[in-house]
Structure formats: C-alpha cells, structure tokens
C-alpha cells in the first residue's frame, strides 16, 4: 500500500511537470499550427540557466527562487527573438520546412549548451526553504513536491482564467478554432503568434526549472521530454488545454505505475495509451476533428 | 420512381449544437438539371458534402439509383458515379493541365497501384480528348497554378468528367468570376451535361446562371428546404422572396448573401 501511495504522489508530481510542458506545446500548435519540436530544448536550456544562476548566487538563500523567476524569463526572451527572426518566415508554409527549422534550433541550441556548459551533468539545488520532507499517512514526501504541484495548479488556474474569463483569452480561443476570424476580430495575428510562442516557451522553462532539482540537467534531456510531451498532447488533443490537464494526469499515472511493472519499458505503456486513444478518437480525447 | 437518380430521406447533419442540414428530402430525376440556391449558411455545401460522403450524416439516408450510399466514403461514392467540383477550385496546382486530367483517368481506370509503367505515356488520347471538350487543348502543357481562374474551373470540370460520372455536383461553378467570364463556362457546363446525358445538381448564387440552365430549383434556408419547383414558380414564391431580404428574386444580378 505504501508503494502505491508513494507512486501516486510521484505520479502527480510528474503530471504537474508534464502539464506545464505540454500546455505550452499544445498552445503553440493550437494557435500557430506549428509543432515545436524544439520545445524540449527550451526546457533543457532553462535547466542549465538555472544551474548557472544558482552558482552565481551561491551564497544567497534565495538562489533557487531567483533561478525560478529568471531562467524561464530568459528562455522566453530567447524564444521571442527566435520567433521574430526565424519562425515568422515559415508560418503557413510546408510542414517539412517548419519541422526542420525547429530541428535546426535543437541542433544549434544543443551545441551552444555544450559550448557554454560542457558535457557533464549539472545539479540544481533544492530551495533551502523547502528542504526536508513532510509526513503524510506515515509516509515521508519531499516538501518540494508541494511547490511543483502548487505551481502547476496555480499556473493552470491562471491560464484557465486568462483563456476563459478575459476578452483576450476568448479571442485567442476563437483564433484557435477559426483562423479567418482573427483578422475579422481585429487581432494582430503576428503579435498573437509571438505572444503565444513566448508564453509557451516560458511554460517549458518553468517546467525545466521545477524539474531540475529532481533530475540531472544534462544534454539530450530535450528529446525524451518532447516525445513525452507529444504523447500527452496527442492523448489530450492538439490545441486543447483541458485535454492537456487531463492527459498529463493520466500520463503521470501511467508512467508512475508503469515503472512499477516494467521499469525498463514504462515507455511502452505511454505508447500503448497513445495508440489506443488514437484508434478510438483520432483527434485525442478532447481535441477537435480537423476538416 | 424508376427515374430518380438521387434521393435523400430526412437527411440531417449536426455540428455540435448546430443543425446544418435539417430533414432534407431531395429527389433528383435522371438527366435533370437541378439548382440549389439559398443564402450563405443555408447548408448547401454541407448537403453536397453529405451526398459525396465527405461528412457522415447525423441521421437520414441517401440513395443513388436505389443503392443506399449513406455510409460510403468519398472515394466509393465517386466510383459509383457521382463526381464533384468545389467552390474553391480543387485541382493539382503543381501538375500541368495534361497531367491533372491524366491522373484523373488513371484513377478511374484503376491503374494507380501500377509501380512499373511510366505514367507519362498512358491514356494520352483520352486526356487530350477531355481537354478539348473543356476547351483547354491549347493549355495542356501549362502548369495548373499558372492557368487563369476560368481555365482552372474548366480543368476542374475535366477532372470531374474523367471519372465518367452519371451525376455531376457543381459547387458554385462561376464563383469568383467576373460577369463577362461566366457565360462561356455556363455554356460549357450545360453543353457537357447535355452531351453526356448527365444528371446535374448545381449550387449557385448568380440568379442569371441559375435561370439560364436549371430545370428545377431547390431553395434552402437554415438547413431546410423551403421551396422547390420550376424556376418561374420559385421566382414568384413569397417565402423565397422573404428569405432574400424581402426583395424580389431578380434575374439581373446576384442574390443577396452571395
């Protein structure tokens, strides 16, 4: 029973990170129709930047918080540059070109990370204030978990509020549904795309920093992350935020309990879930059928 | 009712909460030229999509020569003998006109899994003949994307005819054309339909075009058929006039909403 509870909590933590990561991915696709395969690279970059920030502010008790605040913003700023200089030129063009441009970003940023940080794994320290564990049902969990879950919930609620309760958000959702409507509604499409891309990379950055104390920040962590992210948004439905929530939780649990069953092959369960969902509903559980 | 080629029974299509097509009962006879008119959003194109299997009906049935084709996918419906053109011309932009038609013939002749024979040499006579029929023999070698709008419409007609259909569904064949460009196309359509003995169903907004070719008109509004009959009767119908914003259904120009 203990293992189950442990796995449940651990699954929720996974789900929280997955949600932050996948929500950005699905948002970008929903609005710009671009599949940002480099999403994982922004996630990874945030981890490395967080590492450096915590090194630089090593003596401060707030080093983690500084990193948490700053790294995603820096990543988002970089994303903004990328969007304006590069992505803008391939909107609406051949899918192959869009995909390969994001692949180019993966290559370039990957090697730049190697250039600045080298090949060794980095460790981002837990926030001093949240060290230690709390007791629940006789089991001990790192207090840090509450930060992760709490942040995911808070950001999730903020996004829900923004998208469903504000005028801007409603317009954005309309834009996702019907592309022609954006100009009719007076939305500057270019600005919309930029904002969405920047926000989505910020989300990836948040996921990256929050995840970093629990795993080693290392080159190559971008691809497994983005593949998992793909699995989440495929199951949840491309462009659907509620789908991302539901699916992240589902995936978190599938992964968590899959590891108990076949440690090496937890991935298989994830894929099996993807396959089953796609057979039954080819546009994901909460997505919209195209065409 | 031997003579009925296309028949729908209480055909409905819902998109979420919106009923786009509402209990439509259509009966089109052999070699009839039927026009479907109505304001935007009346469900005309959705009706075409249902007839050709592009959308699955929410309820109701579709019969083609007394075969139930309700559940068939588009490629099966096409094979049965129903061809279609689209409001926004749907051709192969990166092929020449010749290659466009050739591809359509290859499809009809079921030569599409042939992996060996070079396609360029196949069915050249028939392709040429079809291009002549639509007046494109001089443009055969031109890339479809460089053809004029009117010529692209002709090309699309050729594609639809390549399958030797019995029923031709035309979705706004003169859409996007200047007034003086329309008569040749209309004449071509009418001639082709007559020569080949086709049954035609045409969605159109231009009343001039409608009244010049249609034998019978179906008027749709908000998914329902609100009137059906011969052109003169439709022109005089009060409900139809009301639907077109209270004005008369003029023959001189385009109807409102078009």
């Amino acid at each position: 029973m203990d293992t189950v509870v442990l796995q449940m909590v651990s699954s929720l933590v996974s789900a929280s990170i997955l949600f932050l990561f996948a929500s950005g991915l699905t948002l970008v696709f929903g609005v710009t129709r671009i599949l940002n395969i480099a999403h994982g690279t922004f996630y990874m970059l945030a981890g490395f930047i967080a590492f450096t920030l915590t090194q630089v502010t090593a003596n401060s008790p707030f080093k983690f918080w500084i990193a948490l605040a700053a790294a995603p913003l820096l990543v988002a700023a970089l994303a903004g540059l990328v969007e304006v200089l590069l992505l803008r030129r391939i909107y609406g063009r051949d899918v192959l070109l869009q995909v390969l441009l994001t692949v180019a970003l993966i290559f370039v940023f990957g090697d730049l990370i190697r250039l600045f940080w080298g090949l060794t794994q980095k460790n981002v320290p837990f926030p001093v204030q949240l060290m230690g564990s709390i007791s629940l049902d006789g089991m001990r969990f790192p207090i840090y978990y509450t930060l992760v879950m709490g942040t995911a919930v808070a950001i999730g609620l903020a996004m829900w509020y923004a998208l469903y309760m504000t005028r801007w958000g409603i317009l954005l959702r309309a834009a996702t549904q019907d592309r022609e409507m954006t100009s009719a509604l007076g939305i500057d499409e270019r600005r919309l795309f930029s904002v969405v891309f920047v926000v989505s990379c910020w989300l990836a950055g948040m996921a990256g920093v929050l995840a970093s104390p629990t795993l080693s920040v290392a080159l190559g962590m971008d691809m497994p992350a983005v593949i998992e992210g793909f699995a989440v948004i495929v199951v949840g439905g491309l462009g659907s935020l509620p789908g991302a929530v539901f699916s992240a939780v589902l995936m978190g649990f599938v992964k968590g309990f899959g590891i108990l069953v076949i440690p090496q092959f937890a991935l298989v369960f994830v894929f099996a879930l993807m396959a089953v969902v796609l057979i039954i509903r080819p546009w994901g559980l909460m997505g919209k059928p195209e065409g | 009712m031997d003579d009925t080629v296309i028949r729908t029974v209480n055909l409905c299509k819902d998109f979420g909460g919106l009923r786009a097509v509402d209990r439509v009962n259509l009966n089109v006879k052999r070699q009839e030229f039927r026009a479907i008119i109505g304001p935007n959003g009346a469900g005309k194109t959705t009706l075409f999509n249902l007839l050709t299997g592009y959308h699955r009906s929410s309820s109701g049935e579709i019969f083609f020569q007394e075969h139930n084709i309700t559940r068939l996918p588009p490629h099966r419906v096409c094979r049965r003998g129903i061809s279609r053109t689209f409001q926004i011309t749907s051709i192969f932009q990166n092929f020449t006109a010749f290659e466009n038609v050739q591809a359509a013939i290859l499809a009809y002749e079921k030569r599409t899994i042939d992996l060996v024979v070079p396609a360029a040499g196949l069915f050249r006579e028939r392709t040429g003949h079809l291009l002549e029929q639509v007046g494109l023999e001089g443009q055969a070698h031109k890339l479809a994307s460089t053809l004029s709008h009117g010529d692209q419409k002709r090309l699309e007609l050729a594609l639809a005819l390549a399958g030797q259909p019995q029923v031709l569904l035309l979705d706004e064949p003169t859409a996007g054309m200047a007034v003086k460009e329309k008569p040749p196309i209309v004449k071509l359509v009418s001639q082709v339909v007559k020569d080949k003995g086709l049954t035609a169903i045409m969605i159109e907004h231009d009343m001039d075009v409608v009244f010049s070719v249609a034998e019978k008109i179906t008027v749709m509004h908000q998914g329902r058929v609100i009137a059906e009959g011969e052109p003169q009767a439709i022109r005089a119908d009060e409900q139809v006039q009301a639907v077109y914003l209270g004005g008369e259904v003029h023959a001189e120009g385009r109807s409102p909403g078009g």
Binding site: R33, L35, R89, I90, D94, V95, L96, L97, L100, L101, A104, L105, I106, F107, V108, F109, G110, D111, M223, I227, I233, V234, L238, Q264, L267, V268, F271, L278, I279, P282, E290 | P73, P74, H75, C78, R79, S90, I91, F92, Q93, F95, T96, F98, E99, A103, L106, A107, R111, T112, I113, D114, L115, V116, V117, P118, A119, A120, H141, L143, L159
Partner: protein, 321 residues
C-alpha cells in the same frame, strides 16, 4: 500530340541528364582505382545513406508525408539481418534477403496506425513508434546486444573485402534507385504526388488515399531495410544509435539539402551531408551547431534544396519558368 514542355521539375529526363547519369556511373565504377583505402569505405557509407534518403523522399517529397521515424526501418533491416547471422547462424545472402521484408512489415504495422493522421499527428506518431523501436533495440540486451551493440556479423567472400563490398553496395543501391525511380514515374508515383498536392481531390477521384499512403509507407520502409542490410554487413554489426531520432532527422536533412521535389535531390543531399559530416569535425567539435545553421539557412533561403536551386537557375536561363 501533346508534349510535356514547360517548367516541370518532374518532366522527362533530357539528354543532358542521361549523360550526367552515365558519367556518374562510370565514376562510381572507377572509384576503387582512384581512391583506394579509406575513401572506398567512405563511398560505401555514402551509397548506403543515398538509398536511405531516397527511400525517405518517397514519403516526404513525393507523397507529402513527413515521417520522423524512418530510422526505425533502417534499424530493423540491419538488426534483423544481423541477428539472423549471429544468433540463428544464417549465411549472409539469406539474412540479407530477410531484412527488407521484415522492415516492410514493421512499416505496414506502424503505417496502419499512422497514415490516416494529419500532418502533426503523423510526425509525432512516426517519431513515437520509432522511439519505441529504438527502446526495444537498446534494452533487449539478450537479442540485440543492447548498449554494446550487435557484433560479429559475418559476411562472406567475395564481399568480405572493401572492394567486394563496394561493388555489392554499388550494384544493390543502383538497382534500388532504378526501382524507386521507376516507381516515381509510374501511375502510383503520380498519384503519390497528387496526394501531396491535393489529397481531397484525389479522394474525390475515387482513390482510397489511406491505402495508397500505406503502400508508399511500406515501400519506403522496405528500401530503408535494404539500406540497413547493407549497413550491418558493412560494419559487421549494428548499434542502437541507428534507430534513434537523430538518424531519422539526418534523413530529413539530406532530403531538404538536396531538394524534396526532385528524385536526384536526396542523392545530392546525402552526398553533401556525408561530406560535411566528415569535413566539419576536422575544423570544429561543434558539428551539430554547424549543421543546424546550414539546415536553418537551407530552410529559410533554399527550401527547394541544392537541386532545386540549380534547376531553377537553369530553367530561367533557358527561358522557361
């Protein structure tokens, strides 16, 4: 009589192209005498990846299916043949023949899932399946050797020498390229290109688009399997890296570098990529950085690839297009 003149990148090969092809063929046959030793091995590697890239382009450039998991079928071909030799004791020719059909079957299974999906889902799913296959290849130590790789794949005379293997590869790849070329010119190839251009219209011409896409996927997988076969006997083994996303991505890079709209595109792309692959590391250890910049530049500035760029210039020079 209707002729196919006018700017059309897929038009009949002119005499110029035949001469070029003949020249290339002569050079290829003569390579062993001009460039013995390591360059011969290098040429074999290039030939293998030419086949890999051309098979991928059947999907990408011809049918408009951006597959991000092509390496999986390459790897399946390689590992299948290799395992048959190492574990089951098959001799090279039989193992060689077994690889591609198994790869094609795997492509069939994956394709069943994937071909009906729209672009984004297709990319993600082909990547996901490839990662699954990659994971299997990597973790199933007992069968595939896991991290250490599959070793000890025996070839047989006369193919156990570089010269012998070079001719085997040259002949195999040439035959496969001829087959793939003939497919691209066939009615099936035309329909594939039509599917890329306007799948809805193809559907409304009475063609089951999904079935044709599946066929293309399987054929592409088959030839990737052949390339994998050639790889495993060349290297006397295989390693898990050949199934990873990077290998698939490299295939796509080769396609775009050369030009997806031309049969010769991926051929040129594979050669250029491999040349860069060996030359760049001599100047810098940041090969991916350079590759990324080149890839980005190609996407933004030369999206039709090298062949597209050259052909376009010739077309305007000759007064066409």
């Amino acid at each position: 009589m209707y002729s196919l003149r006018g700017w059309n990148p897929l038009a009949e090969a002119s005499r110029r192209w035949f001469t070029l092809a003949a020249g290339v063929a002569v050079l290829a046959l003569a390579v062993p005498w001009f460039q013995p030793g390591p360059y011969l091995l290098y040429a074999i590697d290039i030939l293998i990846f030419i086949l890999f890239a051309v098979s991928l382009n059947l999907l990408v450039g011809q049918t408009g299916m951006v597959s991000f998991g092509h390496a999986a079928y390459f790897a399946i071909g390689a590992y299948c043949a290799g395992i048959l030799v190492v574990t089951a004791g098959w001799s090279m020719p039989w193992a060689f023949l077994a690889g591609p059909p198994v790869a094609a079957f795997a492509a069939f299974l994956v394709g069943l899932f994937c071909v009906r999906l729209t672009h984004a889902y297709f990319i993600m799913l082909t990547l996901a399946f490839a990662e699954l296959i990659h994971a299997v290849v990597w973790k199933w130590r007992e069968v595939t050797g896991g991290d250490d790789g599959l070793l000890g794949v025996q070839t047989m005379p006369p193919f156990d020498t570089p010269l012998g293997y070079y001719y085997l590869t040259l002949v195999s790849v040439t035959i496969c390229l001829i087959l793939l070329y003939s497919i691209s010119r066939s009615p099936f190839g035309r329909i594939c290109r039509a599917i890329k251009d306007n799948p809805r219209r193809v559907e409304f011409m009475g063609i089951n688009v999904a079935r044709h896409k599946l066929m293309a996927f399987v054929i592409a997988g088959f030839f990737a399997g052949v390339a994998g076969d050639l790889f495993v006997f060349f290297n006397r083994g295989a390693f898990q890296g050949i199934a990873n996303w990077l290998t698939s991505a490299q295939g796509l890079v080769m396609v775009i570098l050369g030009g997806p709209n031309y049969f010769a595109g991926p051929v040129v792309g594979a050669i250029v990529f491999k040349l860069l692959d060996s030359a760049v590391p001599k100047f810098t250890e940041y090969w991916l950085l350079v590759l990324g910049l080149i890839l980005g530049a190609t996407v933004l500035l030369m999206p039709n690839g090298i062949v597209g760029f050259l052909w376009g210039r010739r077309a305007s020079r000759d007064g066409h297009g």
